[in-house]
Amino acid sequence: MRAARAAGGEGSALPRWVFVPAALGVLLVAVPLAAIVARVDWVRFPALVTSASSVAALRLSLRTAGASTACCIVVGVPLALVLARSALPGLRVLRAVVLLPLVLPPVVGGLALLYAVGRQGLFGPALEAAGIRVAFTTASVVLAQTFVSLPFLVVSLEGALRTAGRRYEAVAASLGAAPSRVLLRVTLPLVLPGLVSGAVLAFARSLGEFGATLTVAGSLQGTTRTLPLEIYLQRETDPDAAVALALVLVVVAAVVVVAVHGRRGAGAR
């Protein structure tokens, strides 16, 4: 693709006016990012990002995002396999349900989770009886993040599975490999790049989660107040701290984008 663009003259030419709205689109993203970088108080930056509340929020964010990514892998990989490989009836409905959090406002997702596992929720009394409290705990943060991130992993992996096709699996089975062995020794290694980029995307989405987390988990420092919640809170009291922490998230996002893009490029080879 890059080669085609560099060659320029090849193929039919783009109409020139297309570049105007395209440039506007780039500016729409780049200008605000530049504005926030310009607003960073570099002198106080180290102190701001290492304050007790910042470190607590950052640490919590990394821990919960890591945990929710793990949860996404545990349930998302089998889910993607079922969607891409099985012939279950109602697969389209199942896919729509799994992808719903992609388009659902996160606050609605949080509300839904609250009515599922909250004290007044569908399973609240049962969980309470078992001595498990979910709402407003770190577990609820992970739950909210998994809820919103799962589709990212599933979509990415399902695409990779479809691209990889079933021919290698057919050959492996004909060589005597049982289905589990085919899955572990052939299918998953083949789609590993798709799995990695899906996991990275899920991690990034978890790291940025705000609406669902606030709704189902609240904002308790060290327990449920993740980095985005901390930024939102600091915005009122110490805008400089909010900007400094925001920059941290921007950098993380940039790293993720490069990682996923680099992966995809390598996978296409």
Binding site: R167, Y168, A170, V171, A172, A173, S174, L175, G176, A177, A178, P179, R181, V182, R185, V186, P189, L190, L192
Partner: protein, 373 residues
């Protein structure tokens, strides 16, 4: 070889798949190689999918070495318990495994220890002449090498039946003869192997198979020993692939000698040694027909008698006539395509004595799987 080994051995397949309109019966004796020929869409791939267990039949039954793999009623035996290794058009080496681990995949799947699987992999890589590639990654070998490695991988799984799906079709011209030679060696060597070979290439069938079935529209339209089907095709497809002149015999230093004693000069395949059972093929268009002995020194010059004449394209001006002639004294049948005007000039009719001339460079000599009759 043959049914003498007992009725339980080999393959008995009544292949039925209603949605794909396939109803074909195949039988295979132990150690026999069956070529499945046919035009695109004839159902060749469906045959292999049903045998491999990748597709469930809607009826019929498949029995391999006395074991019922599918009977159209019960759940068919899954692919990994069939012992039917698949070799596809593409080598499909697992890209994340080294060559040796690819070949060891079958033995490992069967529960062999790491060391035994490795030994088996080494052995089969050696057989296909790829031992020096063991440590390579699949993307570091050429297309022909990859297909030879795929052959080794299929054989290392010790299949009861080898399923070959156009194994030479995707290779470039330079690589195909080498892979064909390897396949001949492993299928037709001292240890014979049962195999079903799907192909649209006459050469593959000649080189590798004992018997041919021609499939068309999901039905077997022709069946028999390779040479018989080619010598007297009864189906349209058989006739098309048999549009070549084909003389069976024994390879000689500079060509081939038929059982009837006719000597042909031609270009011998590298994998065909003098003394091998072989066929010589050439296009009927390469055969020149003379009324008088043309003299000179063409190396393929035979006396013959015209058997009959058939018009090939009656409507066109430069219409061709196919001359069927019988060589003297060998009795072999040779087809020649000549223009209608030269038929008139030469005054050819059935029974005319003629001389046939073919350039040695137009004759190809290939080894065949079947010993010549």
């Amino acid at each position: 070889m043959g049914p003498a080994d007992g009725p339980a051995d080999g393959l008995v397949a009544e292949l039925r798949h209603a949605p794909r309109d396939l109803a074909a019966d195949l039988r295979l004796a132990p150690g026999e190689v069956l070529a499945v020929l046919g035009p695109n869409g004839a159902g060749k791939s469906t045959v292999l999918s049903l045998l491999a267990g990748l597709l469930s039949p809607t009826g019929g039954r498949i029995v391999l070495d006395g074991e019922v793999l599918a009977d159209g009623r019960h759940r068919p035996t899954p692919p990994h318990r069939r012992g039917t290794a698949l070799l596809a058009q593409q080598p499909l080496l697992f890209p994340h495994l080294r060559v040796e681990a690819n070949v060891a995949f079958g033995p490992r799947s069967a529960g062999a220890s790491r060391r035994d699987a490795r030994a088996a992999a080494r052995h089969w890589l050696d057989v296909v002449g790829a031992a020096d590639l063991a440590r390579r990654r699949p993307h570091e070998v050429s297309g022909g090498q990859a297909q030879r490695i795929a052959v080794a991988r299929a054989l290392a799984a010790d299949p009861r039946l080898l399923l070959l799906d156009e194994p030479l079709a995707a290779l470039d011209v330079g690589a195909a003869p080498e892979v064909r030679r390897v396949l001949r060696q492993v299928l037709r060597g001292e240890q014979r192997r049962s195999a079903v070979l799907v192909t649209h290439d006459l050469l593959d069938a000649l080189a590798l198979a004992d018997r041919v079935v021609v499939l068309d529209g999901g039905r077997v339209v022709e069946e028999g020993p390779v040479a018989d089907v080619l010598a007297s095709p009864r189906s349209a497809f058989g006739a098309r692939i048999a549009g070549l002149d084909l003389l069976a015999g024994t390879a000689t230093a500079d060509g081939l000698r038929t059982a009837g004693g006719t000597a042909l000069a031609g270009l011998r395949d590298p994998d065909c040694a003098p003394g091998d059972a072989a066929v010589a093929t050439f296009s009927p268009a390469a055969v020149a027909v003379h009324r008088d002995d043309p003299g000179g020194s063409p190396r393929n010059r035979w006396a013959a008698v015209v058997e009959d004449l058939t018009s090939r394209e009656p409507a066109s001006r430069g219409a061709l006539v196919r001359v069927r002639a019988r060589l003297l004294p060998g009795g072999e049948e040779v087809l020649a395509d000549v223009t209608a005007s030269s038929v008139a000039d030469l005054d050819l009719v059935a029974g005319s004595p003629v001389h046939l001339v073919v350039k040695a460079t137009a004759v190809a000599v290939h080894a065949v799987g079947r010993t010549s009759p």
